[in-house]
């Protein structure tokens, strides 16, 4: 009941603010925004708010100057209501003119949604921008908790900011891909707040160790996933166990397809195990290594497959094959590099060898079929190439050896000449006396 009242009040207020006139049910849709009086209106609020030098009232006025909404012609009154045209403080802040002051947390999503859920209005500014944020938000963990009256959860302004809102593509925006994780961590790293919600507070720390974080922040790959890529942004909620493979599969398509064909797909579903995450973790997704297949401390398979079982044998077979190809390609590469540094031409065998290295990458991908035979097939092709490359390196080394034959002949001739010279010198006598 209270929520409905509040929503009604916001709607009314927003209508006033946008329309500057008699309330209409949907002023935005009428196309009246931005108001024609915008410049004057801005001056109205800002004149006092900047001059007041009060930590409560002047920073929003300062920040708003850089706000995307300000640049599009919106004013303070569009959200806060009141009369921006007057310099009389009481008149400007008159509740009768729709002045609302600081919106309550619970009111924020609807306030923003007032415009952002209005397709006709948004289309005037950015035709490709989505307008489903509010409805998505209502499906999110945050939105559901807010609806239940929990005001500690995130709303629009928690992530986007309230007065200095920047477009998502602005690298200074808190929702820019490289900054999202830190933005989420402002709440999700707060141990007390998370404890209250029975959530872990170490997700950022774990994510920071992941390959995705590395790709995003160190390699500058903005397509690398951050929090919202898997959890959704406005509809933020953890993926369900059954959908993990789908979520990872949005990028890792091959693995997802392979996994779905694999015997694990059904087994995991039956056991309620969350697909990819079972071996790769959820947030701390580190670089996978071949040792995942081993029975050592990094081994993943041995957690379920006891030694001696078929599963353990399959893991051992895949581990053995992949390791064999890895060793073979590394050795061949090193042998070719030695020849190259000695000055031999190795471009062609190096080119061939890169195919074996590609097979290694493919074999590692094939692991996700969890059928040793498939891995073995890929490895076999790579091993043949690596063996050939190594033989070519050995051939080059022998070629360098052949030079010694020519040297031998030359040295024999030099030796003969020296012998003849020495014999000649002997005939010359001991030299002249002084």
């Amino acid at each position: 009941m209270r929520g409905a009242l509040a929503a009604a009040a916001i709607l009314a207020g927003a209508a006033l603010a946008l329309g500057q006139s008699a309330p209409k049910p949907k002023p935005g849709a009428s196309g009246a925004a931005p108001p024609a009086a915008a410049p004057a209106a801005r001056i109205g609020c800002v004149t006092c708010h900047l001059a007041l030098d009060d930590a409560r009232v002047s920073p929003p006025a300062k920040l708003f100057a850089d706000d995307i909404h300000a640049k599009s012609g919106f004013t303070c009154a569009n959200c806060h209501g009141g009369d921006p045209t007057t310099e009389d403080m009481d008149a400007a802040h008159d509740a009768k003119k729709g002045f609302r002051g600081k919106p309550k947390t619970a009111d924020v999503p609807a306030l923003c949604g007032n415009c952002h859920a209005d397709a006709a209005l948004i289309k005037k500014y950015n035709p490709s921008q989505r307008v489903d944020q509010l409805s998505e938000y209502k499906t999110s963990g945050h939105g559901k908790a807010l609806a239940k009256g929990d005001a500690t959860v995130a709303t629009c302004i928690s992530c986007h900011g309230a007065h200095g809102i920047l477009p998502v593509k602005d690298s200074r925006a808190p929702v820019f891909p490289t900054r999202i994780a830190q933005t989420c961590n402002r709440c999700h790293g707060d141990a007390k707040l998370m404890a209250d919600h029975k959530l872990p507070s170490d997700v950022y720390a774990k994510y920071a160790k992941s390959v995705h974080f590395e790709a995003l922040t160190k390699k500058g790959d903005l397509s690398s996933p951050t929090c919202n890529s898997c959890h959704g942004n406005h509809g933020a909620a953890p993926p369900q166990v059954a959908s993990v493979a789908n979520v990872c599969g949005t990028c890792h398509t091959i693995f997802a397809d392979q996994f779905k064909q694999s015997p694990h797909a059904k087994a995991f579903a039956d056991m309620g195990l969350p697909g990819c995450v079972t071996c790769h973790e959820n947030h701390e997704i580190v670089h996978p290594t071949d040792a995942f297949l081993s029975t050592g401390k990094d081994g993943k398979c041995s957690a379920c497959h006891d030694a001696g079982t078929e599963g353990a044998r399959a893991a051992a077979a895949m581990y053995r094959d992949i390791t064999a190809l890895k060793t073979a390609t590394e050795k061949a590469r090193a042998a070719l590099e030695r020849e190259a540094e000695a000055g031999m031409l190795v471009a062609k065998p190096q080119f061939e060898l890169s195919k074996a290295e590609e097979d290694l990458t493919k074999a590692r991908a094939d692991v996700h079929l969890f059928r040793p035979y498939e891995v073995q097939q890929t490895v076999a092709g790579g091993l043949t190439i690596a063996t050939t490359a190594k033989a070519q390196a050995a051939q080059l080394a022998r070629e360098r050896g052949f030079r010694r034959k020519g040297l031998g002949l030359s040295l024999v001739l030099i030796g003969l000449s020296i012998a003849a010279l020495v014999a000649k010198i002997r005939t010359l006598g001991p030299g002249e006396k002084p």
């Binding site: 190259a340 040295l411 020296i418 010198i425 030299g431 002084p434």
Partner: protein
Amino acid sequence: MSSAAPDRGPLGAALAWVQDRIGWEGIAHLAEKKQVPIHRYTIYYYLGGMALFLFLVQVATGILLLLYYRPSASEAFESVQYIMAEVPFGWLIRSIHSWGANIFVGVIVAHMLSVFFLRAYRAPREMTWITGALLLFLALGFGFSGYLLPWNTLAFFATKVGTDVPAQLPGLGPLLSRILRGGSDVTGATLSRFYGIHVAILPAITTVLLGAHVVLVQQKGMSVPLSVESKKYRTMKFVPDFLLRDAVGWLVAVGLLAALAAFFPWELGVKADPFSPAPAGIRPEWYFLSMFQGLKYLPAEIAGVPGEMVGVLFFGLVGAVLVLVPLLDRRASRGLPSPWWNRLAVLALIGALVLTILALRPPPGAAP
């Protein structure tokens, strides 16, 4: 001077005609007259001839390398690789040039040491020594400039360090370094410059100095050590006795070079990448190691002057002393022994040797 004999046939006549025009008799007379003293130190006389021979080997192989080498940052490495891998016997020519350069420097250092300890620089042979000392610096210049030409990682970074040395000099130092590098850093411009220095500037200066050096040796004849001078000794003719013995040494040298080239072909290394970090264990050619290591050990400041500047000035002083030894060693010029000079030289040699050995140790933090 005419000595055309009627019974020589057309070939002999042509020969006589040429000999007549070039004043062959005078040359033959000089060669006939030239004598080489025989005593316990005679062996050292061969070092000069050996150095000259190795220099000619460098000239010959260097000219051959010019046929395929391309002096640009984008092609230098590839062209040396092409020489090593594709051109018939290219590996031999390039390896002999590289090995020969090192042996050449070794031989002229040995030549200079023997001349020093035998006091062969004393009057009237001061100018022979001075031209010789300058030729040593030129040889080091050849080595330094040639080292960069294959444009591999090691050479690139060693050159970076090496061209930074003159920048330490007060006043014109930074400008000198810029001139040497052809810019503020080692780049393709440096390669062009070093190529020009290596194949044109240094050979031109060397030709003049080497000519002067050899003419002076012929003019003054072989020096006899102080300890032998007073005694009686035999002599041998330069032609053919000494020359044939020289030839034995040269043949041994060629055999050695060919063997080194076949068994240890000079490495090509990895193409220089100016943007990659300096690899561990970069070092210059062996004859610069003592200086390289010496500069490393100097403290940041010595009496308010940057340590490296002190070091570079010190090396400059050593070089100047080396050139001017015949003028500084007054006792030798009066025919007296000068043991202090011996002690100083031995001390300098031990110092250089220790620093070189220290530089050859593997770096403590070597990459795994």
